[in-house]
């Protein structure tokens, strides 16, 4: 994705936002200029701390999911026997909306960060497992045989074939998970905390009725997601150079 395209898309979005705000003409939808003004003001006023709390939670949730899901996905995708045993289980568990477990998770893990991170983990784990498993299972058998003929056993196959082959799928899974992770972050920060962009948005929108400040929080949350998207793109260009050669 080119920077110019992102800039143009942002410009179109701002124009549509401004026109909608003018048409609606209610305090609940302020225009982008007013929101930008408040956003700059709120930068001096605690918004950065909320941003850092949210960033930490979403990063921890995603990092834990990747660390746990990638080995599981590789193991299941790389072994026909494990695939036969665990895939039906994953198919049963994957579609269950994990958000409904928020009260249960809070009951067991308390109201702190751990519960919030655990809920994100529950949702992202299955998404990443499925993508990585499919990538590992779809590797050409000849590639595996070729490596086995070079002396590679199971451990070397994982190190030299399955892991690097699955990197693009891991990054795709991450990219797909960012939207979900940020949405889940908002839900988990609605209760039992005084820090985080979810709390900030909800508090300003529902309690203080300060809509420009609420939108400043929405902008901050969007920037959080956008920054994560760009980070994954950067990692892909760094780790998967072969995908970008002509």
């Amino acid at each position: 994705m080119r920077r110019r395209d992102v800039f143009l898309a942002a410009l179109v979005l701002l124009v549509v936002w401004q026109m909608t705000a003018l048409l609606v003409n209610f305090p609940i939808l302020p225009g982008p200029y007013e929101v930008l003004h408040v956003f700059l003001r709120e930068l001096q006023n605690g918004l950065p701390s909320h941003f850092v709390f949210s960033l930490w939670r979403v990063f921890a949730g995603m990092a834990l999911s990747v660390l746990a899901a990638v080995p599981v996905g590789l193991a299941i995708g790389g072994s026909g026997a494990l695939n036969r045993i665990f895939s039906p289980l994953i198919y049963l568990l994957y579609p269950i909306p994990k958000v409904v477990f928020v009260p249960v998770v809070i009951l067991f893990l308390g109201i702190g960060d751990l519960a919030k991170i655990a809920i994100m983990f529950l949702i992202l784990f299955f998404q990443i497992v499925v993508l990585v498993r499919d990538q590992a299972a779809g590797l050409p058998p000849q590639l595996i045989q070729s490596l086995r003929s070079l002396g590679a056993g199971r451990r070397a196959l994982f190190r030299f074939v399955y892991l690097p082959a699955s990197l693009p799928a891991i990054l795709t899974a991450l990219r797909q998970s960012i939207g979900t992770a940020v949405a889940v972050l908002y839900i988990t920060e609605l209760s039992a905390t005084k820090y985080g962009l979810g709390y900030y948005i909800y508090y300003n929108g529902s309690t203080l009725m300060d809509y420009p400040a609420m939108y400043a929080g929405v902008v901050a949350m969007s920037l959080l997601g956008l920054g994560m998207y760009f980070s994954v793109d950067w990692l892909e260009r760094k780790w998967c150079k072969w995908k970008f050669v002509t």
Binding site: Q145, S146, L147, G151, K241, V245, T246
Partner: protein, 255 residues
């Protein structure tokens, strides 16, 4: 060097490809395995590579029963088996890195394996040094095949197994690589077993040609071709006669 004794092998739910099949290949020989599609050429190569196990019978290389891939056997497959995410140099180094990963355990690497790096030398000898930093998708089919050969020879094998390695190359590149393969086999004193469905390739490379049939292979049908690889042999009448004979045999098989 290679002994197949009364080998029987069948893929699940299909008639056996080999039944009580025996074959002996001596050290330093060049063999071509020829036959129509589905006759078990590649399966036989996988059996020799230790990637498949016979249902019954015994396969031994250098007197040792083959139960898994052997560190001194090199295998080059039809699509070269190069890792698309690794550069040419990293692909050529791959076998050495796998050996370093395990150390000299006698299973994955020979007991006398000395970690060293002769990769640059092989890149030079195979004429692919200038594309060492490129990825496989950036180079030609001939260069990919040279990289696969370099990767295998960097491991200093004594047995080279090739599965239709030149089938997707143009005629000139194919001829160049066939000559290169024969030269390297002579220099490195390798035993060569190459699988092909092309009669001219079999007669050009194999001093002995094993013809397989679609029906279950029991008896070995071996054609002697002692002049393979010599200058002018391909234009000789003896070569044409052998090609005719093999063509008739294969035609009879497929008719």
């Amino acid at each position: 060097m290679i002994d197949l004794e009364h080998v029987t092998f069948a893929h699940p739910h299909t008639p056996p490809l080999f039944e009580n099949f025996s074959l002996t290949i001596s050290r330093g020989e060049t063999w071509a395995i020829l036959g129509p599609s589905g006759c078990g050429k590649t399966t036989l190569l996988y059996l020799l590579a230790g990637l498949r196990q016979p249902d019954s019978g015994r396969i031994a290389i250098e007197g040792e029963r083959l139960t898994r891939p052997r560190p001194r056997t090199g295998l080059i497959l039809q699509d070269y088996g190069l890792l698309p995410w690794a550069t040419v140099q990293a692909n050529v180094e791959l076998g050495l890195r796998v050996r370093e990963f395990y150390g000299e355990d006698g299973k994955h690497a020979p007991m006398d394996f000395q970690p060293g790096n002769n990769v640059v030398d092989w890149l030079d000898r195979l004429g692919i040094a200038e594309v060492a930093d490129k990825f496989p998708s950036q180079i030609s089919g001939g260069q990919r095949q040279r990289a696969a050969i370099a990767r295998t020879l960097a491991l200093e094998p004594d047995l080279l197994l090739m599965d239709e390695p030149f089938s997707s190359l143009d005629a000139i590149t194919r001829g160049d690589l066939q000559n290169l393969t024969l030269r390297l086999c002579r220099e490195q004193k390798l035993t060569l077993v190459i699988v092909t469905h092309a009669i001219e390739e079999a007669t050009g490379l194999g001093k002995k040609i094993l013809l397989l049939s679609r029906a279950s292979n029991q008896a070995t049908r071996i054609f002697e071709n002692p002049d393979a690889g010599q200058d002018g042999y391909r234009a000789s009448s003896a070569h044409h006669e052998l090609c005719d004979l093999l063509w008739k045999e294969m035609h009879y098989e497929t008719a």
